[in-house]
Symmetry: C2
Subunit: 454 residues, 2 copies
């Protein structure tokens, strides 16, 4: 009996590349889609990946590279020769080129840029100088603009030559003055209906624009307020420099939200995919962990100050990790709510007092509930009401402290221009651990006679 | 000297509503934008909010309600009379209507639906029966479709009557058979260029469609693969039932990523904004915390089994919370990487073994680094190399356990149809705490003579 062997996608990719079968490879990549191709290519060796990317036409390779996360795109590009890399990059959209170049080391970037058309290279360098989450970083240099004295007929003829590829992103025709200043926008139907020999200045309408350094939050607010598919970006002298599309803002918002989650869980300094080299992955993770263990040792050193109390009432040792964990949980809830309110723009970074008042009331209720629960468990277990009192009061008070810090720290960090997703967690747990250990052990010290005789 | 008093946005809203000044109110809301209006309206009392929403025209109120998160939209709507609520809802786009109705209690939903046009109400009920993150839940019922025998001229005339409001979402004209089956799509330019007396069946092109239950991940993959702005949705009999727009998929992905972060931090059972009632906020948070404290007590009970060892070497108590916290950190990093790989589709839920092998190697390296660090600190502090050995080995082993669980638990949960964002954290910390306490205290028990004499 013959056995049918079903090839996995990475095996198919590898086989087609090995055969130099560009057409079949292209068809297969198109068929399985970007994500599956990405998943498959990650399982290939360095040489096999290179072979797949160079067997594809530069255009097809560019279509693939554009769609995967920037950092991973850069990792694949940097393994290629500068020449191959340049020919793939040249087929990409301008803002994708800039993102990939920005993710390369400056030496690699220079090597690739040197192989590109000098105009394209200059444009990419200009785009990659903007902050990635600003209008400059998100804008495309591919847009349609004509000077005011162009006639409608000339514009229509010009649009015809461009073909259909821009049509999916919605078409706006921008009008610029002699000096390159944005002076307006022409709607397609008025273009068609106008006298074709008249300059477009006559039918141009005023148009909103945004500065290059507009933040992602402000871009979101802009597209909230206006039902546009795209908005032109101008420099300080009001010259048109690019166009930001709604779709790219939405994608950047999704990326940013997903990155917030990863940063809060300690994936810092570059995103990880498990096919990256072991030492890179391990090194990034452990550098964040090493900082954390030092903070942890500092806060746990509070316990060392109360060794006599602990020796006398060894049962307290059971409750120290509980108070530490639970305060972290309560505080992280408050952090998450503050992050959301900041993202929605319904709380401003200076409203620390208002947020604190709203958190402290939740903290009091939840502290009472959790404190009573833990007090009850402690009492039942050791038969000593004073032990219950000590751990219950400590947890209740520390819950209030935890939500106070958790709610306000993201606002503080935002005001100081730091990333709240990265730093809120470590600050929160260090302070609440110290306070929690101090509360439980100092209360126990005060009530030591009752705890021992109980 | 006169003092200028600058009114805050909520004070302006309140004043304009109190004056019944609908035009000014509308202009002001438009000027400050949705987010600022949302932020302002949250600071008003229940009656004042109602006054603002009813002073605005139903259309303007709908424009605002459409743009705020569903759950908060539902909270505002439910405070209005069923009649007012129905007239605002009637002005909203179909999928927004369905989202808001879906977020109301069934009693409130019925009351509002009873006040709406019966056809609209039936449509909303149908739409709200779909899962929110499926094609059915994201699709709009507003689309342009004509039967095959309609002539091009009739379609062009019909489009003219619709006006411009659909233009921002990109326009596709779908063609349906007599039985409502989707048979193709007509491009605008071929419509204009065709003979206007011929049925559109002649110029219709075949068109891709997706089933109602397509998941958000599959929708993302679809729009990755195809440069469309929208895709038609068909039911089991291939009848056209709605259209999903790329923009709504991108928005849903951003919402989903942000929700993953909040769920991982313990904001479960509904999103929170601090102007919600105190008991609602507190209750949601404390229900998750109560489950966690029980898990915490269970894992800490391991410590109670080793009270004799702890009494003999009280310094161990300092290291218990450190091992617990650090294992949580290492494990959560692995969870975050798995969540990302699942979201990117580059790891499948059944590939648990592959992920485990990739994690265990990182765990070994990081365990060695962290374990050595902690061992060094313990040794220096107590001058006892055996104490260093015990805590270092315990942390190293537990780091391997933590990354093994952290990397694989999200895949397990996904396979079982559970939400990995919610459950991964509590499962991880419970198991790693138990293992950590057990490792440190059982190793210490084995080496007790060395620890005491050292």
């Amino acid at each position: 009996m013959e056995q049918e062997i079903e090839l996995k996608s990475w095996e198919v990719l590898k086989a087609l590349a090995a055969d130099d079968d560009a057409d079949q490879l292209r068809a297969y990549v198109k068929d399985i889609g970007v994500n599956e191709t990405f998943s498959a290519i990650l399982r290939l060796s360095r040489d096999e990946r290179e072979k797949v990317l160079t067997t594809l036409s530069a255009e097809d390779a560019a279509d693939f590279i554009e769609e995967i996360p920037d950092q991973h795109a850069a990792e694949m590009i940097q393994k290629l020769s500068a020449e191959d890399a340049a020919s793939i990059l040249s087929e990409m959209e301008s803002q994708d080129q800039a993102d990939v170049i920005g993710a390369l080391s400056s030496k690699q970037a220079d090597a690739v840029l040197a192989e590109m058309n000098p105009d394209t290279a200059a444009n990419v360098q200009r785009l990659s100088s903007y902050a990635p989450e600003s209008a400059g970083g998100l804008m495309m240099s591919e847009y349609i603009a004509y000077s005011e004295d162009t006639t409608s007929g000339e514009v229509i003829a010009g649009l015809g030559e461009r073909g259909e590829q821009e049509s999916t992103l919605g078409m706006y025709v921008y009008v610029t003055s002699e000096t390159g200043k944005l002076s307006g926008v022409v709607e397609l139907h008025s273009l068609v209906l106008s006298r074709h020999t008249a300059p477009i200045a006559f039918i141009s309408k005023p148009c909103l624009s945004i500065p290059e350094d507009t933040s992602l939050t402000d871009l979101e607010a802009f597209f909230d307020r206006h039902a546009f598919l795209a908005v032109p970006v101008v420099d300080r002298r009001e010259r048109l420099v690019g166009v930001v599309h709604r779709q790219h803002v939405d994608e950047a918002l999704a990326d940013s939200a997903a990155a917030t989650y990863r940063k809060s869980q300690g994936i810092i300094g570059g995103d990880e995919i498990r096919s990256q080299p072991l030492l890179l992955r391990s090194g990034r993770r452990v550098s964040w962990l090493s900082l954390n263990i030092i903070l942890n040792i500092i806060s746990a050193s509070v316990i060392a100050l109360y060794q006599d109390t602990l020796s006398a009432v060894i049962a307290l040792a059971v409750f120290l990790p509980i108070v530490s964990d639970m305060s972290g949980c309560s505080g992280n809830q408050a952090v998450a709510v503050s992050m959301r309110e900041l993202a929605l723009g319904i709380v401003k970074p200076y409203e620390i007092m208002r947020v604190w008042l709203q958190e402290v009331s939740v903290g009091c209720i939840n502290g009472l509930v959790l404190g009573s629960l833990l007090a009850g468990v402690a009492m039942l277990w050791q038969g000593n009401p004073y032990l219950g009192l000590v751990v219950g009061v400590a947890l209740a008070l520390n819950t209030v402290i935890a939500v106070s810090i958790g709610g306000t720290v993201p606002l503080f960090l935002k005001r100081m221009g730091k990333d709240p997703a990265v730093a809120s967690g470590p600050i929160l747990t260090t302070v609440t651990d110290m306070c929690g250990f101090f509360l439980i052990l100092s209360l126990a010290t005060l009530m030591l006679p009752n705890l021992i005789t109980g």
